[in-house]
Symmetry: C2
């Protein structure tokens, strides 16, 4: 049942993305290839974890989550922009993403650069448009903008680059993962709470949940990068090792990384159990479990 | 007198930028180099034409333009992000900008990429923050977001890239310049009008002025690229020719380009003369003249 609902949400998000970009591609003239390249990277892509976390968190407090599909779309656009730029030759130089050639492998570097810029911009355009008629959206958008900026995702990316070929300490490793992956996941969850006008206590609880889940998410990525199978992952494994990056596994070793991961996972479930005394959190719990158990 | 005021505004903008980024650099930890590289490109940079156009347009209708310095800052951040990405090796591959080495020449490509992303993001963060207490800012920010997105500046950039080593027709050339340079200049002017709650007639007039000025601005760039002197420009001349791009001059020839430029300049001044029957536009007129006569 909850599995059905989650699959249904993923399907709807994919459809909304198709609808959004097909419309833009049809409207486009000399910018058609830009939107085609944006669509190439965002379609059929990944787990839609951030968008689904956003919608399910929203669904805990209010029913009309359909009104905020555009918000969820903007979150996926942001995630996708970060992947396109991350894959560029001057960054991770990856050829494969989600089982298909990366954006720059298909369209060339210049267009991939602009496709990333375009997606970030498009996300803000969508968020600002939503906010014109809805004050709560504006505060939620502000949360997102901070999470993905220089003191958030981009901050994590720069620390990641500077840490290449260097032995990082625990605090540096934590900074990178908290910011590079964690903050957008956390903001996807908190922004839904802001949209539902949740009080500060609930927002803190959501924040704590989002932070641990985001952190766990990155550790799992690092673990899968070592033990995952390339077909399931849809990207080259051992790529972080190739790039001489400090990962959780290279820092703590595999066994200890799995231990930390398991502890974080339990803590995430505990927080949801606490929330379940106030609200029905079953769907979010199922999806969190699904993310915890993922093998890609 | 008006010259003094314009120089004063430029000085204030430079100071605000210094203040903004110094504060961020001081706050930064592992993301310090990110903010240093952003600041490297945005400091002491250029004419601040967009920010000054914004402030002077605002000043036509209302006095409290100091309240919107952050808005002007955001516009300059956007402009700067577009230059950093434009200069990257996969784009125009420029070594020199405003008389100093381009961002990637100093910090490397990965950091330059992130500095550009960071500036775009920072601009939206500033705009959204401003909008939380001020509804007009939100509408003005929406105008900016559209102007710089896939149907604006980024659209123009992609058309520009696709047009390399190709003979463009007049419509294609116009699309590129209207979007790549024109739309942000136009939006800098219109957004000030929106912030002042100007009526639709005035907004249309401002839009017409901004469009012609933005267009003229790009033609002048192309003309200076051929006849300008490298010391004054602070960038490599003939660089568009090196990149085999269709410019106004390569399309219409120098003489005809200057003719078109002069006509557009006159039309800009005519629009301001019309506005001057309603409002004091002297400062904006002086600055427009200064831009028209610029040799860098």
């Amino acid at each position: 049942m909850s599995e059905d609902k989650i699959n249904y949400l993923k399907k709807i998000i994919d459809e909304k993305i198709e609808e959004y970009f097909t419309k833009k591609i049809n409207l486009a003239t000399h910018n058609k290839l830009l939107y085609e390249s944006m669509y190439y990277s965002i379609k059929d892509g990944g787990k839609r974890a951030r968008a689904i976390l956003f919608i399910l968190t929203y669904g805990i407090f209010k029913e009309n989550y359909e009104d905020y599909f555009d918000f969820a779309l903007a979150i996926e656009m942001i995630h996708c922009y970060s992947l396109i730029h991350d894959d560029l030759p001057c960054m991770d130089d990856d050829d494969l993403r989600r089982g298909k050639p990366t954006n720059h492998k298909v369209y060339g570097e210049a267009i991939a650069l602009l496709a990333g810029d375009g997606l970030l911009n498009e996300a803000f355009e969508v968020l600002i448009k939503l906010s014109i008629d809805d004050r709560a959206s504006l505060k939620a958008s502000y949360e997102i903008s901070k999470a993905i900026g220089g003191f958030g995702m981009i901050g994590g990316q720069i620390a990641d680059i500077l840490g290449e070929n260097k032995k990082l300490n625990e605090e540096e490793l934590r900074y990178i993962h908290e910011n590079k992956t964690g903050k957008l996941i956390k903001a996807s969850i908190i922004s839904a709470g802001i949209l539902c006008n949740c009080d500060q206590d609930i927002l803190s609880t959501l924040g704590e949940f989002g932070e641990k889940l985001g952190y766990a998410f990155q550790i799992k990525d690092d673990i899968l990068d070592v033990i995952g199978d390339e077909d399931h992952l849809g990207k080259s494994i051992n790529c972080d090792i190739k790039n001489e990056k400090s990962t959780f596994v290279s820092f703590y070793g595999l066994e200890r990384s799995i231990e930390i991961y398991d502890r974080l996972s339990l803590e995430c479930m505990d927080i949801l159990d606490r929330l379940s005394k106030l609200k029905d959190v079953n769907l979010l719990k199922s999806f969190t479990l699904k993310l915890i158990k993922r093998n890609n």
